[in-house]
Amino acid sequence: MSYFLRKVGFYAVALWAALTLNFAIPRLMPGDPVDILLAKLQQRGGAVSPEARAAFAALLGGDTSEPLWSQYVHYLGNLLHGDLGISVSYYPATVTEVIGTSMPWTIMLVGISTILAAGLGVLLGAIVGWKPGSWLDSLVPATTLLSAVPYFWLALLLVYVLSTLLGWFPVQGGYDVALTPGWNGEFIGSAIRYGFLPALTIVLASIGGWLLGMRNMMVSTLSEDYVLTAQAKGLKPRTILRSYAARNAMLPSVAGFAISLGFVVSGSVITEQVFSYPGIGSRLLGAVSNNDFALMQGVFLYITLAVLGANLVVDLLYGVIDPRTRARS
């Protein structure tokens, strides 16, 4: 039980650190974000009331009359109420609304492609690592090319070959704009067709890491005594591969999920930009180029929250899968 408590405690600390970073960054950087923001707001026809100014100042700093700690308390209080401010580039929508419409796209895209990449990579890694020394195994180093390719360049390449030259897939967007979003077959079909290339990019770029990690663990596991025992018992190779070697070799892959998810999310942010995908990455970059600081911070918070949440779930599952982790703590 203490293992689970420790994990939850750690992620609470990590969340607090992320919130504090979010608070500190705009205050540490040169320039006055509040003034830029208010000037933008005025351009868009928004009324700059003293309350709006105070709200932005609480989020981004710049109000020197208030001591830092009370700014901090104010900021945390606003977050607890789910108040992330008003988006300037999507005025008059609030930041929470903008994120709410784009978050599902990214979660679906990144979620599905990460599960696909991890599943395929671990499976292939197990097969390749099972017979170290076969011709298949000697090809493994070639997969480093895939993991060294920048996500966005792979995306450009896929767009060029599959969309511009062959015309199989749409170049950009998340769905056919002629359709209205909803849970009907036509719209979902179009979403899948538009999402295929971004998903393929993420799968191709991240599968190499999974494959390699699994293959290396598999090679290490094969020299364990319990594998030898299983062989001596005369079990079928397939059974040994599945129930003895692969199950144990998989554990570090599960534990390494935290690091890989961070990488995949980072990669997908830029991939979305290439495809103008209506997800959270495009929103983040749009916010940066429009100096929409409130939206920028909100998106960062939500991405961090999602990554921390996914990691917490995986860590808790890991405690269930591998009893040793519970015993150690």
Binding site: P30, G31, S223, S266, I303, V307
Partner: protein
Amino acid sequence: MTSIPGGGDTFSAAPSDTPDLGTAAIRSAPDRQRSKPKSAWRSLLPTMTPWLAVGLGLVAAVLLLGTIAPLFVGDPLAIRDQGLTPPSSEFLLGTTQTGQDVWAQLAHATRSSLQIGVIVGLLATALSCFFGIYGAYRGGFADELFSLLSNVFLVIPGLPLVIVIAGFVPRESRGLWSIALVLALTSWAASARVLRAQTLSVRGRDYVAAARVAGERSWRVIVVEILPNLLPVIASQFVFAIVAAVLAEAGLSFIGLGASNSLTLGTMLFYAQNGFALSLGAWWWFMPPGLVIALLGMGLSLINFSIDEIINPKLKNARLHRKRAQRAEALERQLMRRHRGKTGARASEKEAVR
């Protein structure tokens, strides 16, 4: 994702390299000459494999492109009236929309990308060594704090954080060093965690305890007694840090948040994307920069493969087994052939006698 075992394996790589006396005695004379006992330093260096050769070749090619080639190409920013020409003898890689020489741009961009990669690699490695080794060596509160810090930095997604930081810095004050600093600050955590685990295992050994009892200062114990054990791990992490930095910088520049007034591989891709290179079919514009990054990354990763074999000897043993199995198989086939040849000859002799 590299798998690094519980530590302490670093040195056990050495004995597996030197032939034990039993087999050496059995070997034939020329064979024994070939396998001279290797020096201790040699066994710390990776063994030459075809993949390592490929990796070294790729890295050398990219290094040449980044160091020598910029001296011979023209001005990468000069604008001509020959826009979007495909590769020709005049322009090796064609021209951009505004008639800039892509080959000249590629050479200069590779130089800046390598520069930032090495700077970030050094900074990140230094940070991870400090937080990983020093914390684990001190133990107690410092260790708890440092390991919490690196775990927190590990789970907070790096690139979104970098984007937010870069977004708040005004374009004019976004220099090469500030970008390098931000990239280094967000990329040291994973290595620090691995180094901490390794340090913990080395710290408990007798010779380290002896050095401490003898009254050595802690920096000396760390540098002289502990650090040499971690060198292969640190080397591998440094190589990875360079790859990660080049990739991250390219991503940052691609979305227009790179260092201002710099020309890196990411900047080239940014201009290619915004100059509609894709829809105009100008493959010579957007293909080369990404390819250079990918090949550099592949080369460095292949070098890392060989370093991994030093860290985790089980991987090396797998390769040696494979080699031995192949040799045995070849030998067996040869024997079979000779045997078959003999029996065949005997059979024909019998024929002749009859």
